[in-house]
Symmetry: C2
Subunit: 196 residues, 2 copies
């Protein structure tokens, strides 16, 4: 069954090892921040730096694994119809809204949505690191300068992950203007339970 | 007074707002992992993702600021004679030694050295994020693939930071083979106290 995350909100999802999580962009051009913590100890959390080190790349693709701060694989990308995601930037927050959009209303952003969704599992706001920003399009120039561009995802594009341990995953429909080409749209997801 | 960090070790340094920290490569070709936490609350810690977002670049240079997970500037780079540093990769650890150097003796690495140096200040190992890896040379290709190359620093090269808040800084002489061209050398540092 496909479930919907409404614009500018977030959810927490329980995944057992072997489950498959599919994240779908139902309308196209929308970002979803994904954060994973170990269900048995939420202090084990997704780490972009460990992932870049073990995958020897800052661009993840089918076959890549997302690693934890304790050097364990958390998720494997098993299908990806877009191929462009970001793992450099922290989730948008009230502070980033004030910084980047001083003339627009402040929103708690993906940071606030992830913090609320994961609080019941013992994740504190200060613990929230860089999420894996599904469909987010952040080109990096050779001189290191980056920019946030509209996502390349079209309606129906998706990415599928296999869970490599029992996880709680926070997942959002992103709230920032630049990430989504200034529109806010939903994100869909689906869970297939493993053989386990 | 210049102090020395012996090869494959680390220290903790108290910095008041306005103090200047100079990190020096005395022999050339050596990496130093730098991690900063707020002295008033060590849960406020250096964040590569917030820094990339606010600096709009993954390559930091003179004038760049290093930001915390709470969106506050922690350090400003005020001088830099090398211009090549890394902020993508987490500190080398026992796990990364086993992964990348399976035939070599395991070392606790910069991760273990930072964890020990910062433990008295309330920093837990799980809290240790990507450090700012001074003099570390990690080119990223257009396809995202990265490699760890020998540092470009020559003997006497340095980088200087101004502290933007009261900080505890963990600083190492890096322990990993690839980071330093397979040699382990010391790192020197110097503190100039601000007017404050």
């Amino acid at each position: 069954m496909t479930k919907r995350i409404m614009p500018r909100t977030g959810v927490a999802i329980d995944l057992a090892e072997g489950d498959i999580l599919t994240v779908i962009d139902p309308e196209g051009g929308q970002v979803s921040d994904l954060l994973a913590v170990s269900r048995s100890d939420p202090r084990e959390i997704l780490s972009n730096g460990r992932t870049f080190d073990y995958e020897e790349s800052i661009k993840l693709k089918t076959g890549s694994q997302l690693w934890s701060n304790r050097s364990n694989p958390m998720l494997t990308i098993i299908e990806d119809t877009v191929g462009t995601h970001d793992f450099l930037l922290t989730p948008c927050s009230a502070a980033t809204f004030k910084h980047f959009y001083p003339d627009k209303p402040v929103h708690r952003g993906c940071f606030g949505n992830l913090a609320e969704a994961l609080a019941p599992y013992g994740v504190k706001p200060d613990d929230i690191p860089t999420a894996f920003n599904v469909f987010m399009n952040v080109p990096v120039r050779p001189d290191g300068i980056l920019s946030v561009e509209p996502p390349l995802s079209k309606a129906g594009d998706l990415i599928r992950f296999r869970s490599e341990m029992d996880l709680v995953v926070g997942l959002t429909a992103c709230s920032a203007y630049a990430s989504n080409g200034s529109t806010f749209k939903p994100i869909d997801y689906r869970i297939e339970r493993g053989e386990g």
